[in-house]
């Protein structure tokens, strides 16, 4: 009887330990639906103004927080509203312990038309927690080049109706302040719902 009880206790302990080991395994970029970087990318160091006019040191303000960084503009007819809309929609469906640990930062590539008021109101339509950053286009392009993204370009001569060519990628920085994956246009809400709970896991530094 004692032997049976001991065997049972050992088996239960083994299962618990095995489960704990699996749970503590660091997530792997290849488990995500985003595009993996061959080498994780360091978080860039830049400071721009928020739509409220405050100074925002990107590296300090997002330190240790999962951060989705995107470059776009409010007059964008498709990519920007779809990306922002999809991320906001999924954050609303995820448990608070996941959604509260995700910061979304969008940097405008059209500082001429995207005034703080306009940009702030546009972002609040998706989610009031989204952070909008504004700075001179040359500086914004420098940041994009640092991140291996193409610089933004203006197309069209009309000062009111021109378009801005820009990268369609959302870069995801994890809690280790590095980006292991990015998300191209075409990323669906299902993909975000699958990946965000993995991105907020704390042990990404093991990758």
């Amino acid at each position: 009887m004692n032997l049976t009880a001991n065997l049972n206790a050992t088996a239960i302990l083994a299962v618990v330990v095995a489960a704990a080991c699996v749970a503590d395994q660091p997530p792997r970029p290849e488990d995500l639906r985003g595009t993996s970087y061959a080498q994780p990318m360091q978080k860039p160091d830049f400071t721009l103004r928020t739509t409220d006019g405050d100074s925002f040191d990107f590296r300090t303000e997002t330190d240790g927080v999962v951060t989705l960084l995107f470059f776009g503009y409010t007059s964008c007819p498709d990519i920007c509203p779809i990306h922002m809309g999809n991320i906001a929609a999924v954050l609303r469906t995820l448990p608070p312990d996941v959604s509260r640990r995700v910061k979304v930062v969008m940097v405008t590539t059209d500082p001429e038309r995207d005034t703080p008021e306009r940009f702030g109101a546009w972002l609040k339509n998706f989610d009031p927690s989204f952070v909008g950053l504004i700075g001179p286009l040359a500086e914004v392009n420098e940041i994009q080049i640092q991140l291996n993204l193409p610089p933004a370009n203006r197309y069209g001569d009309d000062d009111r109706s021109y378009t801005v060519g820009h990268s369609a990628r959302v870069i995801a920085f994890t809690a280790d302040n590095r980006a292991h994956v990015s998300y191209p246009f075409g990323t669906r809400q299902n993909d975000w719902a699958h990946d965000l709970p993995l991105l907020v896991k704390p042990n990404w530094e093991a990758n």
Binding site: R188, Q189, A193
Partner: protein, 276 residues
């Protein structure tokens, strides 16, 4: 200039676009009917329900609703921007236009259309309720699969194929109710009512998926340039409700009409008058 409405990568604009294929289809449907009326309408053998031109307004209404559903702006909005509009197109193609087209075609013309052996066989086969039920519901489910919607609606030919499959499936669905000539052994009223009610249940499957899914089902509409402040999930929920409520209302409404016709026919039979 485009042939048929398909998904586009550009933002929606309220600028009119011509869709030549839609006009050709509408013109063909009207011309064929008028030509048949003038060439083949029998002179003496028409009963009071089949007098020349009597059913023409119904037929032309059917063609008109097809035109509205396929052409700008509903056509391109449904093909590439809003799933709710795509579902309105489905309702029109499968539930509104077909009964009008069948009811608007006189019996002599139906007889003329199925005079050939193969056509008569097809008419006889789809007059069987189980066959019509299967054809309609298989088309309904297949054309709402994500791979089919995302794959086909992106091209003009694919979008045309989906629209025409709805129209064909709609004609098959309504044929046992409105189409069969006496020689095709039409179902009695109770059978027609049961058949219609049975056809309410299968569409609830895609409708439920659309209404209750947490995330968008179709990539095409999720990644389409947005229109207004409607989110992809809200648009999908509206689509689900349209499919369930409007489609169900049309089918059950028709079943109710048939029920009263049946009751009236029974009354007439009891009174010794011929049923109409």
């Amino acid at each position: 200039m485009s042939w048929w409405c398909a998904a586009q990568d550009t933002a929606w604009g309220w600028t009119w676009q011509p869709y030549v294929g839609v006009w050709v289809l509408v013109a063909a449907l009207v011309l064929c009917r008028l030509l048949a009326e003038s060439l083949w309408a029998p002179g003496a053998s028409l009963d009071h329900t089949d007098k020349r031109g009597r059913r023409l307004p119904l037929y032309l209404t059917g063609v008109a609703v097809l035109w509205i559903a396929a052409d700008w702006p509903i056509g391109p909005l449904g093909a590439g921007y809003l799933l709710s509009v795509h579902t309105i197109q489905y309702i029109v193609f499968a539930f509104v236009a077909p009964p009008l087209l069948i009811a608007g075609t006189p019996r002599w013309l139906l007889r003329h259309m199925i005079r050939r052996h193969w056509a008569s066989n097809i008419a006889r086969t789809v007059s069987r309720p189980l066959v019509a039920f299967l054809i309609f519901n298989v088309v309904l489910l297949a054309t709402h699969l994500p791979s089919v919607v995302d794959g086909l609606t992106a091209s003009q030919l694919g979008s045309f194929a989906v629209d025409m499959s709805w129209l064909t499936a709609g004609l098959v669905l309504w044929w046992p109710i409105l189409g069969p000539l006496p020689e095709l052994n039409p179902m009695p009223y109770p059978g027609r009512i049961v058949y219609l009610i049975a056809n309410v249940f299968i569409p609830t499957v895609p409708a439920a998926f659309l209404t209750y899914a947490t995330y968008p089902i179709y990539a095409l509409y999720e990644l389409a340039p947005p229109i207004g402040s409607l989110t992809a999930v809200e648009d999908q929920q509206i689509a689900g409700m349209i499919m369930k409520i409007v489609g169900g209302f049309i089918v059950l409404g028709t079943a109710s009409v048939l029920f009263f016709k049946w009751a009236r026919a029974e009354e007439r039979r009891e009174e010794g008058r011929p049923a109409v």
